[in-house]
Amino acid sequence: MTNDNDKKTSIDKLLEALQERAKELNCLYQVEEILNEPDESLDVICPKIVRAIPPGWQYPHVCQAKISLENKTYHTPNFMETPWVQSADIVVQDMVIGTISVYYTIEMPQADDGPFLKEESKLIKTIAERLGHFIMHQKMRLVVRDWESAQHSVTEHKRGEWQVVLEMLKQTDRNLYISISRKMLNHLCWSGVAEAEKILRALGMDQKVTEEELLDDWNRPHQRRGRSFSADISAAAFRIASDHLSDEEILRLIQKWVQEDKLSFLVQVVNRNLSLSEVADAIRRYHHLAPDEPEIPSPSKRGIRVSLIRRFLSDGLQYINVAKHFVDVRDFYHLLHNVIFSAESHGKLGGKSAGLYLAAQILKRKSEDDDLLGNVKIPKTWHISSDVLLHFMHYNDLDEVVEQKYKEINQVRLEYPHIVQTFKSARFPADIVKGLSVALDDFGDSPLIVRSSSLLEDRMGAAFSGKYKSLFLANQGSKQKRLDALMDAIAEVYASTFSPDPIEYRVERGLLDFGEEMGIMIQEVVGKRVGKYYLPAFAGVAFSNNEFRWSPRIKRDDGLVRMVPGLGTRAVDRLSDDYPVLVAPGQPGLRVNVSPDEIVRYSPKKIDAINLETNSFETIDLVEFLKEAGYEYPAAKEILSVFKDGNLSRPSGIGIDFDEDDFVVTFEGLISNTPFLKQMEAILKHLGETLGMPVDIEFAFDGTDFYLLQCRPQSYSDLSMPAPIPKDIPHDDIIFSANRYISNGKVPDITHIVYVDPAKYGDIADRQTMMAVGRAVGKLNKLLPKRQFILMGPGRWGSRGDIKLGVNVTYSDINNTAVLIEVAVKKGNYLPDLSFGTHFFQDLVEAHIRYLPLYPDDEHIIFNAKFLDRAPNILPDVLPENTDLDGIIKLIDVPKSTGGKVLKILMNADLDEAVGILSVPSAEETRPMPLKADRVEKQSENFWRWRLKMAERIASQLDPHRFGVAGFYVFGSTKNATAGPGSDIDILVHFRGDNRQLADLQTWLEGWSLCLDEMNYLRTGYRSTGLLDLHIITDQDIAKKTSYAVKIGAVTDPARSLPMLRDPRRG
């Protein structure tokens, strides 16, 4: 019983404490509200504050408050002084000008400080401080107002105006008065006025130190001499000034110094690295001081701007350099309105926020000259400063999680799910909760996206983007529910800082020790409700540089837009099962897909949206969705075309009949009937020019307005960086070079070249043989190691009908190649057109297969026909049934023909140069490893080495007698040193035992397989159902060379035998 009672009391106590915190916060909030009226007089403000105080204290019914200010007092009704009091001074410019006091009318139980809680002491201090600031603002405004009226009078009274000003300063702001006097004295001194010099010297402030002194003790500080500045000296200074300077000149100087002084507090605050809330206060103060004054460029202002940019946005020099021209001090006032931070926060907004903010500022400024930019909007956005992550962790005693990054990667991976859970169940500090609550009130129940905006994203640009989470929230239901969901999402984004992928990436890039912090960007999702879904009419990404040119008429700077109906998520990522619509803003007429069949085939079929009923992000079937809700869909006429009888047409005036018509996403109306692409071109151009680099933007259109969602430099994913092209490559190592229509990329480690000789192919006399070439290529595509071979052929790959122009293949015949190369060899005077991959262009783009056109007849181009001719042709070994084609198709095993070298293709769109060279395999170089190489397997020494070691281990443990095994082989990627993190281990077992032994063997290896899979998961994050791919062959198979038996002693890619366990009895 007693225990229960105790427990109950402790819970009660806890509850009480919590209620107290809520009351206090509420009180503070109210005071803030009251002080947010800068125009109200103190006589109005003070009584309000006095009334607001008691509810915040523990015993409001016996609580009273009083403010004494200089000669006035304000207090609660029926006020009387009692001994139970708590007070705080009101300080303005380091001078105590009053007090706030809180009294209890009767004696209350003892707490931290008499009857008062320690939190209450803090609270009263805070209120006094805020009131002090407020009074100072008011005073300053007064000064300015008087000053302005004095200025007016300047024109009227010719004499004495600066004296009026000075007198006023002396009355209202003594510090400023002194400071100005000092500046005047300095000014006079520098102007060579002897009297001034004399006064200064008397003060010991003469800056003129003799040369000898300087030389003599240059590394000893000069002695500071002299006495303090007084009102007399001030008067003297101005007396001298009036003798030497004109009235106008004196007035101008005073004016200038007063102006500068107005900023000085900001300079101090910003440069002293105070907390965000202090900086925010200073900015608020500045704003209230001079809300309408146009900003005049002055060195100190520029300095403040730069400091503020550095504090809030980015410390990147390039960024600051641009931003300082587009961001004013007052812009920060508006920006800070939407920033959530803890009291002690020192953080920044992070990369994504900084990028978007600057882009928006640029567009706003440029829209004055360019109407096309006028209607670009930015979705409503709130930010959380980056170090709140650390406060959040500290608040929940999770500080040690920061060290997570120094753990072994498999440990990081194992622990990550727990970190996510811990973060999600952790609590946010009260001030952050309050901030989020205010933000939610601002957002209402619009769906939200919570995006990471980390410092590394800022520093590394796009290369680091996508490493952290972005989460959509439907934001529906009660406020509490929405707030919980928002905090949950933020916690999850926070947790992603410690997910294994970015940590692994940082390890590889040497960024581990960087103090990563995570800003958060909470953005309203652009869109409208359609049926039960919420989505924009369309969205997408746009790039300054077009790295996927489908026609030689498209220039690189014609740009590229990838867009989809609904949320832009489907345009951002490469899709495996769907296609976004591609268009080049500079060449809107040249489409990737031309015939109705192509257009329909490569049109988006799915749509991403937020389901407002289930509160979830969903991918839905476009046709089903539009059949249900098409009539509500915004801008449907601009997005869709009607497909009828094999023809596509833009919807007529009546629009689309969603029940009857067959419709296809083409964006035809948008492209040909609206200024959308012109606008996109203008945005890309202005941002690109201003930022001095190509950009990559995300956008969305809700049916009414166009929104910019993100802007960052168009750097490249690891796979499409412009590859540096060495200049000193030995001529013999170059297989080909190219200098037309080059895209970016680097394709290392090509082991096989499939070369369809253009001349020989052109000589084929019958269609059957040409078809056979296509089929043979298709077979090679299945047999050769994926993404490690290239296809080189004449003219147009994928020709249909007139297949003399190029090899007749479909996408499935080439979908495993790393690069598709078209060779345009002159025939007489005639240079054949290349296809640029048009027959399957979008498939190539989505699968990241490179395309490269070669023009061997061009000048300054190398086409190493000698190598291609002389290297041994292994086609007959690989495809014995196609031996007859060995004159036409050449299959080159590069390492075999070159003594172990591989082909490496380097493509650089910046230089418009590409080269294919023989070099050592990259596993022998040290190079950074791409993190998420979706379809292209990443290769690293570790992966195959580890696999080979494990295979050797298995073999060494395998008892051949027990299991009836005659031979144990490894082949495929493990043997070829090309295994990636998700590769399996191909094992070939030569089996001679009985059925029972076979079953035992399979069980035994199954155990290994699962075990290795788990290990591999911990190492790489890739999981499968087992790592071993087991192939059993018998004597019969070997005799008949059936199945995988051909791998034993094969010409290409033979399986490698591994030693098995030796009979211990035989030693």
Partner: protein, 428 residues
């Protein structure tokens, strides 16, 4: 690059020579039919979007018009050659003749790659093409149609230019137009239904009732879908159909011994005839490798997908039960496969005949346009049935009488009809 390289026109001539030998044609007829009657080669200057002018090369070949106005498509192709156009025009002459419609053979094209052209530029090419040929084409002289990389849109631009030049309406100048702008109903069904009309007649001759037969179909596109529809209506049972899987980049065969249900399959099929594998499994279909359609124990095989599907390698796997192969696709059977099929004594309805429903329907479109009166779909399909049936009967009768392989018989009858028209007109 010598004469020994592949030349489509030489191939067409060789084919003609072979049939001419069978028909024992005289030298003059051979000389006339081996080469086109008329060829136009001309330049089309086009002002491009950026202001510069580019000159495109255009062609029209009218191979033979002894049986009526020439008919044939217009191709936009970056490496179009006159020899390709000649060959295709020649084949059009035979194709119109085999179904016995009163049209000759033509073909045209422009050397260009629409992927490098904006819509406006393509429109200018279309209009330029018509301006160059306005006096030499027309509903009573030469009737173009869509072909490689041209569509109904291109046809409308060309029609508009033609009518502007002549100052009158000539909807019969061109075919392949959209419905409502001179297009014909029944075009979607025409090819697939046409295949089955010939299958029906072939079964009659073999004295087999359609209700007692089963079939396996390759492909699930337009042709195949309508073929299955009509065949099922006739009482036949399709037990296997293959379809291309875009995600897996391979094809699968879908088998249901009780007979596939077209409607339920269409519900799980995308626009390109791709059947959803998982859903098909749920519906009780067996999902087999793509080539398995060929080895089914059925009476009828209908390859309706791509060329070169039945080859010397796989033709041997065709079941002994198969009695008819109806070629819905163009050139699905290789010459080596033909030999094996002959040996198996399977009745082949050659592509040339089996899929002539399409060109017949184009002819109907032109007829309707010329009289500016458009038939209901039933009327179009009824007339199609009559045309296809009589064409089939003529070919099979000749094959039976002269002991010819069906493929040869089709060519023989077509070339004979054209040769006779030339003779009767007194040309040769």
């Amino acid at each position: 690059m010598s004469g020994k390289s592949f030349n489509a026109f030489e191939m067409a001539q060789a084919q003609f020579d072979h049939v001419a030998d069978i028909l024992d044609l005289d030298a003059a007829t051979r000389a006339l039919l081996r080469v086109p009657l008329r060829e136009y080669q001309f330049s089309i200057p086009v002002r491009m979007d950026d202001g510069h002018v580019e000159v495109f090369r255009g062609f029209r070949v009218q191979h033979n018009d002894s049986r009526g106005p020439c008919k044939g498509g217009i191709r936009f192709h970056p490496q179009e050659t006159i020899n390709t156009v000649r060959a295709l025009a020649t084949w059009m002459t035979w194709k119109c003749a085999v179904v016995d419609i009163p049209l000759g053979g033509g073909k045209g094209g422009v050397i260009c790659d629409p992927h490098n052209l904006s819509a406006r530029e393509q429109e200018q090419i279309c209009r330029g093409w018509v301006r160059q040929l306005a006096r030499n084409v027309g509903p009573l002289a030469d009737v173009p149609a869509p072909d490689v990389m041209t569509s109904g849109q291109h046809m409308l631009w060309m029609l508009d230019e033609f009518e502007a030049i002549h100052g009158k309406k000539y909807p019969g100048f061109i075919t392949g137009k959209p419905l409502g702008l001179g297009g014909s109903l029944g075009r979607t069904e025409a090819t697939g239904y046409g295949v089955i009309y010939t299958v029906r007649e072939a079964l009659k001759q073999l004295h087999i009732r359609p209700e007692d037969t089963t079939a396996s179909v390759q492909g699930f596109g337009n042709v195949s879908q309508y073929a299955i529809e009509l065949y099922t209506q006739m009482g036949g049972k399709v037990i296997c159909v293959s379809s291309w899987d875009q995600t897996d980049q391979t094809s699968y065969s879908f088998k249901k011994v009780a007979g596939v249900n077209l409607k339920e399959l269409l519900d799980i099929t995308d626009r390109f005839g791709g059947i959803n594998k998982a859903k098909a499994r749920d519906l009780g279909y067996e999902v087999l490798p793509g080539d398995d359609w060929l080895v089914q124990e059925v009476d009828i095989l209908i390859p309706a997908a791509l060329e070169n599907q039945i080859t010397g390698e796989n033709a041997g796997k065709i079941s002994g039960k198969v009695k008819i192969i109806a070629e819905g696709a163009n050139g699905p059977t290789t010459p080596e496969a033909d030999e094996i099929i002959k040996a198996k004594n399977i009745f082949v309805i050659p592509d040339f005949l089996a899929n002539a429903g399409g060109v017949t329907c184009s002819y109907f479109e032109q007829v309707q346009c010329n009289m500016n009166y458009f038939w209901e779909k039933d009327e179009v399909l009824g007339k199609l049935d009559v045309k296809m049936t009589s064409a089939f009967l003529a070919v099979s009768a000749l094959a039976a009488k002269r002991k010819l392989y069906m493929r040869d018989a089709a060519y023989v009858i077509a070339i004979d009809r054209v040769a006779r028209a030339c003779r009767e007109r007194g040309w040769v």
